[in-house]
C-alpha cells in the first residue's frame, strides 16, 4: 500500500509540473510583444509613455529570458505568491482567497446532492433492472447529461425568478450575514451545477452495480440462502461503489466548469466568474495562476481519490 501511495504521489508531482508548463507556455505562445500581451489594451492604446513601458517591463520581469520568467513564476507559486492582477491591481492570492469559499460553498452543496441522488438513482435502476424504475431513472439520466448548464440556468431564472418571483436571480450574500437570503440565492445555481453531475453519477452507479451483480460471488451469496437485502448491502454494494469513487475526481472538474457558467449568469463572485472576467480583461496574470490553482486542486483530489480507491480494495490495501 505504501508503495502504491508513493508511486501515485510521484506521478501527481510530475503531472503538476507538466501542467505548469502547459499553462505558462500556452500564454506565451501568442505572437508579438509580451508586454502588450501582458498589459493588454493599456499598453497599445498609447496611454503610457515609453519610459513607463520600460519600467513596467522591468517590474513584470518581461526582459528576462523566458526560462527565468518561468522559474520566477514557479518560485513565486511555491512561496504563495501568485502574482498581481493587472485588472484588479491586487494580489491574485488574495483575489482567489476571497472567492474560493463561495465557489466551495456552491460546489459542496452541488456535490452532496449529486452523490446522494445520483447514487440512489443508479442503485435503484440496477437493483430493479428492467422495471419502470429502471426505465424512468435511466431516461432521466440520459436526458440530464444533455441539458446545457447555462441554458437550464436561464430557464430557471425565467420561471422561478421572472415569472413566479420566488427566487432572487442574482447575487450572493454571505450565509453568515443572512442565511435565509443566501439559501434562496443558492438554490438555482446549485441545482444547475448538480444536474449534469447527477446524471453522470447515476449512469455510472447503475452500470457498475449491474456489472457487480453478474459476478460469480453474487451467485454464491444467493446460493447461501441470503436475502436480497444482504446480498445487495453486504456483497454487492461495496464492490459496486468502488468505481463510483472515481467520480469524486470527475465531479470536482464539473464543479469548476459549472461554476464558470453558473457564477457568470447568477453574478456570483466566485472563482469561475473571476476566470471569465479575467479572460475578457486580458488579465493574463490571473488567467495563468488561476488556471494553475484549479488544475492543482483537481490533480490533488484525483490523487486522494486514487489512494482511497486503493484503501477500499483489499486486494491493494493488503497486497
Amino acid at each position: 500500500m505504501t508503495a502504491y501511495i508513493i508511486r501515485r504521489l510521484l506521478i501527481a508531482i510530475i503531472i503538476l509540473f507538466i501542467v505548469t508548463l502547459i499553462v505558462f507556455f500556452s500564454i506565451r505562445l501568442l505572437p508579438g510583444d509580451p508586454l502588450v500581451i501582458f498589459l493588454g489594451q493599456q499598453a497599445t492604446q498609447g496611454g503610457v509613455s515609453t519610459a513607463e513601458l520600460d519600467r513596467l517591463r522591468e517590474e513584470y520581469g518581461l526582459n528576462d529570458p523566458i526560462m527565468v520568467q518561468y522559474g520566477n513564476w514557479i518560485w513565486g507559486i511555491l512561496h504563495g505568491d501568485l502574482g498581481k492582477s493587472i485588472y484588479y491591481h491586487e494580489d491574485v492570492g488574495i483575489l482567489m482567497g476571497e472567492r474560493f469559499p463561495i465557489t466551495l460553498h456552491l460546489g459542496l452543496l452541488a456535490f452532496i446532492i449529486n452523490i446522494v441522488i445520483g447514487v440512489l438513482m443508479g442503485l435503484a435502476a440496477a437493483i430493479r433492472r428492467g422495471t419502470w424504475i429502471d426505465a424512468v431513472t435511466t431516461t432521466l439520466a440520459n436526458v440530464g447529461i444533455c441539458i446545457p448548464v447555462f441554458w437550464l440556468a436561464i430557464l430557471m431564472i425565467y420561471f422561478f425568478g421572472l415569472q413566479l418571483g420566488w427566487l432572487p436571480i442574482y447575487g450572493y450574500t454571505s450565509p453568515f450575514k443572512d442565511f435565509w437570503l443566501n439559501t434562496q440565492q443558492v438554490i438555482m445555481p446549485v441545482f444547475c451545477m448538480a444536474i449534469t453531475m447527477m446524471a453522470t453519477t447515476a449512469r455510472l452507479a447503475r452500470s457498475s452495480m449491474l456489472e457487480v451483480t453478474r459476478q460469480d460471488y453474487i451467485r454464491t451469496a444467493w446460493s447461501k440462502g441470503l436475502r436480497e437485502r444482504s446480498v445487495i448491502m453486504r456483497h454487492a454494494l461495496k464492490n459496486g461503489l468502488i468505481p463510483v469513487i472515481t467520480l469524486l475526481g470527475i465531479g470536482l472538474g464539473m464543479v469548476f466548469a459549472g461554476s464558470v457558467l453558473v457564477e457568470t449568469i447568477f453574478a456570483i463572485p466566485g472563482i469561475g466568474r473571476l476566470l471569465v472576467t479575467s479572460i475578457f480583461a486580458q488579465d493574463y496574470v490571473v488567467i495563468q495562476s488561476g488556471t494553475l490553482v484549479i488544475a492543482m486542486i483537481i490533480i490533488l483530489s484525483n490523487l486522494l481519490v486514487d489512494i482511497s480507491y486503493g484503501w477500499l480494495d483489499p486486494r491493494i490495501r493488503f497486497g
Partner: protein, 329 residues
C-alpha cells in the same frame, strides 16, 4: 427409504436471439440419503443448469419452464425464487459449490465474514460462536493456522485453498445435499485429487449426500456410487457406477468410454473418438439428439421422438431404441 430429493421432468430454457434453447429438457433423477451421485456430460449438456434450477438460481434470459423438485415432501419450484422458503433451503438444506474458486468468493469480504454469515443466518449462532465454528471448519478442510487466516481476504489464498473454503462453507450448516458443480475443473491434477478425497471424507463425516457434476469420467468412477449420464439436456443413461463402467449400454456412454485409456485394455488399443459435433441446442427436433453421431441407429430413431428411460438391467436405465447388447465394437 424415501428419496431425499426427487426431480421430475425438469425443463429449463433460455430465450436467445436465435431461438429457444432447452438447456434441460425433461430431466428426472433422485438422490438418496448419504450417497454420492455423479452427473456426467460434456460442456453444454445441461448438467450445471439442472443443478442451478434445483436451487432456483436461474436468472433471465433463462427460466424454469416445467417439472417438479420434490424435497422433504414439498415441490420447491412452487416457491418464489428468492422467497423465504427457497432461502431457508439454500445453504441450510441444499448447498452448492461452484467451479471457479477465483471468482466465487467476494474479494472485499474476509473469509471469516463469508463463513460466519451462513452460520449466523441459518443456525442463528452469535458472532463469537460462529467465528469459533468457522475456525473449526477451516481446520477440518485442511487449512492450517486457521485462527490466523480467518481474517484474510480471498486473494490471500490459492485456488485449491479457496475451494476448501467453499467446501467448508457448503457444509457449514450441515445440509442434506451438497452439490459440487465441476469443483475441480479449474485446478491442477494433484489438487484435484486432494480435494476430491477431502470432499468424500467430509460428506461421510457430515452424513451429507454429494452430487458431483463433472465431465471427467475418472472422477465419478472413483467416488460416485451411482451415475447419471447427460446429453443435450436429457439423461441418457443411469445406473450404478459398477454397472455403467462394466456394461455401458447407451451409444453415447459407450463412445465416451472408448475415448479414454483404460488400464485393463491391451496395449496398443486405439482410442476411438465419437464422430460428429455436439448438437446445436437451438430449436431441437423431438428426435434423439445423439442420432447424427450414433453408430447403432435404426430407422425408428429418425421417425419417432426420443424414447423414455427404459430399464435394461435392474436399476440400469437407458434412453435408446437400439439393442446395444450384441454389438461390442
Amino acid at each position: 427409504m424415501a428419496e431425499l430429493l426427487q426431480v421430475n421432468n425438469l425443463v429449463t430454457q433460455f430465450k436467445t436471439e436465435s431461438g429457444l434453447v432447452k438447456a434441460v429438457d425433461g430431466v428426472s433423477y433422485y438422490i438418496d440419503e448419504q450417497e454420492i451421485v455423479g452427473l456426467v456430460g460434456e460442456s453444454g449438456c445441461g448438467k450445471s443448469v439442472s443443478q442451478l434450477s434445483v436451487m432456483q438460481l436461474i436468472s433471465a434470459p433463462g427460466e424454469i419452464a416445467g417439472g417438479e423438485v420434490i424435497f422433504e415432501g414439498r415441490n420447491l419450484l412452487q416457491y418464489e425464487a428468492n422467497g423465504p422458503e427457497m432461502r431457508s433451503v439454500r445453504g441450510a438444506k441444499i448447498a452448492m459449490i461452484f467451479q471457479e474458486p477465483m471468482t466465487s468468493l467476494n474479494p472485499v469480504l474476509t473469509i471469516g465474514q463469508q463463513l460466519t454469515e451462513m452460520l449466523q443466518l441459518h443456525i442463528k449462532m452469535d458472532g463469537d460462536t460462529a467465528r469459533k465454528r468457522a475456525i473449526e471448519l477451516m481446520s477440518m478442510v485442511g487449512i492450517s493456522g486457521a485462527e490466523n487466516r480467518i481474517d484474510d481476504y480471498p486473494h490471500h489464498f490459492s485456488g485449491g485453498m479457496r475451494q476448501r473454503v467453499m467446501i467448508a462453507m457448503g457444509l457449514s450448516c450441515n445440509p442434506k445435499i451438497l452439490i459440487a458443480d465441476e469443483p475441480t475443473t479449474a485446478l491442477d491434477v494433484t489438487t484435484q485429487a486432494q480435494l476430491l478425497e477431502l470432499m468424500k471424507d467430509m460428506v461421510q463425516r457430515f452424513r451429507t449426500s454429494l452430487v458431483i457434476v463433472t465431465h471427467n469420467l475418472g472422477v465419478v468412477a472413483r467416488y460416485a456410487q451411482r451415475i447419471y449420464i447427460m446429453y443435450a439436456g436429457r439423461i441418457v443413461e443411469s445406473g450404478t457406477t459398477k454397472d455403467i463402467f462394466a456394461n455401458p449400454r447407451h451409444p453415447y456412454t459407450m463412445g465416451l468410454l472408448k475415448c479414454i485409456p483404460r488400464l485393463d485394455e491391451e496395449e496398443g488399443t486405439k482410442l476411438v473418438p465419437i464422430e460428429g459435433l455436439p448438437p446445436n441446442l437451438i430449436n431441437m427436433p423431438p428426435t434423439c439428439a445423439f442420432l447424427p453421431r450414433c453408430s447403432y441407429r435404426l430407422e425408428k430413431c429418425a421417425k419417432e421422438p426420443w424414447p423414455p428411460l427404459t430399464p435394461v438391467n435392474g436399476n440400469h436405465y437407458i434412453r435408446c431404441y437400439a439393442d446395444t447388447k450384441e454389438k461390442s465394437k
